[in-house]
């Protein structure tokens, strides 16, 4: 049992985490920039998006994307083993990260943007070359924290993980425990999560104290 828990379950958990984190980061950055825009037509869709996805239970969003959309439209996602799960988690993570990224950008002193603009840099250049590099430094601890949450939230994909080879740790452990009437698979799954999350949690604590020290 243990080899497959690692080679299939843990592998899939990491794949879901990796792509959802990248997707969440991209969505989060886009939504954060929209929320900071001077244009209302960009600000309000971004606000609706973050409020909606933070207001809904993640599990419902996952079920909606994974089952609701295919049922309603008859359309099948490409790469059904991974894509719907990654999309749903990217949207949820993106909504939370958008707030983190926005706070990071707002944490950079206004004078930085002003100095860049006074040198003739257009807004996008000033944002990319001056503000965002500094904002990302402020965002590393909270984003790492969100990585931990996202990693654990991949367990919600157990509701979708019915395709062969697509089970992440929780689904794998649960199926195994059900089939054998033996709970040790659940314990093994729990340990697999902790092996990843505990070092990350320590890392976040360290990063946070270092950022505080540097200010």
């Amino acid at each position: 049992m243990l080899p497959e828990l690692i080679t299939e379950g843990a592998k899939n958990t990491l794949v879901f985490t990796f792509f959802s984190f990248l997707g969440g980061l991209a969505i989060g950055l886009l939504v954060a920039l929209m929320r900071l825009s001077r244009r209302r037509s960009l600000r309000w869709p971004a606000a609706v998006f973050t409020d909606l996805l933070r207001g809904l239970p993640a599990l419902l969003t996952i079920i909606f994307i994974g089952f609701g959309i295919p049922i309603a439209t008859g359309w099948q996602f490409p790469f059904p083993k991974y894509f719907p799960g990654c999309l749903a988690l990217s949207l949820v993570a993106g909504a939370y990260m958008a707030e983190t990224i926005r706070a990071g950008i707002e944490g950079v002193p206004r004078g930085q943007m002003e100095a860049a603009r006074s040198l003739g840099m257009p807004y996008p250049v000033a944002m990319r070359r001056v503000v965002l590099p500094q904002a990302f430094r402020l965002m590393v601890p909270p984003l790492t924290n969100e990585l931990v949450l996202l990693f654990k939230d991949t367990s919600l994909l157990a509701v979708l993980g019915t395709l062969a080879g697509g089970k992440e740790i929780t689904k794998f452990a649960r199926d195994f425990a059900n089939a054998r009437s033996n709970s040790s698979a659940l314990v093994a799954g729990g340990i697999a999560y902790l092996v990843i999350t505990l070092p990350l949690i320590r890392l976040v604590a360290q990063l946070e104290s270092r950022t505080r020290g540097a200010r």
Partner: protein, 240 residues
């Protein structure tokens, strides 16, 4: 070089600038003095439109900065600005601070940008610290790098917004020294300052502002020595 007419600026209900007219000739050094809250900094920030004027016109080197459809990024390259808080980019070295806009705005390749950057750091006496990050520099050194960063764009005008107000007293001199050198080389400068000694020695003209208006202006000896207006006299009595 700079022509300001009827400039007004409100923040909400509060009118900070209440109709400013000011001309600055090429190669002229104008020092703007006045109590805090008089609108000096806002005036300066309206010249390169870091603040959006509520009304009025600003023309710099023949370009109407307040005109419709003006290419703000382009006109800003002709105006260097130096801030009270330096605003160096903390993630860039001294040289990186100077070269960033050369590369991203003027499109210079890194070789040419580095060459001009080092030359500018030389001008402000910071060539030896080209590879230091701002956090490793004193306030005076940071401000000199900030001046080099602005000069590198070869501006026609330099705007100084209380450039020495955030400095420890013993560091003020080195920054004023650089500014004095610039003035002697014929740079057109608008200097918002509390340094009366600098205004007296370097300025061609001193402008006294109070409550959003230009109260009085003239040559430094006259304005600082025998001011006509009561408000100017009472301000100078407090700071001199």
């Amino acid at each position: 070089m700079i022509s300001i007419t009827g400039l007004r600026k409100s923040f909400g209900d509060h009118e900070v600038l209440r109709g400013i007219d000011l001309e600055v000739a090429a190669r002229e050094v104008v020092c703007v003095i006045g109590p805090s809250g008089s609108g000096k900094s806002t005036l300066l920030r309206c010249i390169n439109r870091l603040e959006e004027p509520t009304a009025g016109r600003v023309v710099v080197d023949g370009v109407e900065v307040t005109g419709p459809g003006v290419d703000l990024d382009k006109v800003r390259t002709s105006m260097g600005m130096v801030f009270q808080q330096f605003n160096l980019f903390p993630h860039k070295t001294a040289l990186g601070n100077v070269t960033l806009a050369l590369r991203t705005v003027l499109g210079m390749d890194s070789g040419a940008a580095d060459a001009r950057g080092r030359q500018m750091l030389e001008v402000v006496g910071m060539a030896g610290k080209a590879d230091a990050y701002p956090a490793r520099l004193s306030g005076g050194q940071q401000q000199r790098v900030a001046i080099a960063r602005a000069l590198a764009m070869e501006p026609k005008v330099m705007l100084f917004d209380e450039a020495t107000s955030a400095l420890d007293p013993e560091l003020v001199g080195e920054v004023l020294g650089v500014m004095r050198k610039l003035a002697e080389q014929g740079m057109t400068m608008v200097v918002v300052t509390h340094e009366m000694g600098f205004a007296r020695e370097v300025a061609d003209r001193v402008v006294f502002m109070d409550d959003g208006l230009v109260v009085e202006q003239g040559p430094p000896a006259a304005l600082l020595g025998s001011p006509r207006e009561a408000r100017t006299r009472s301000f100078l009595a407090k700071v001199l």
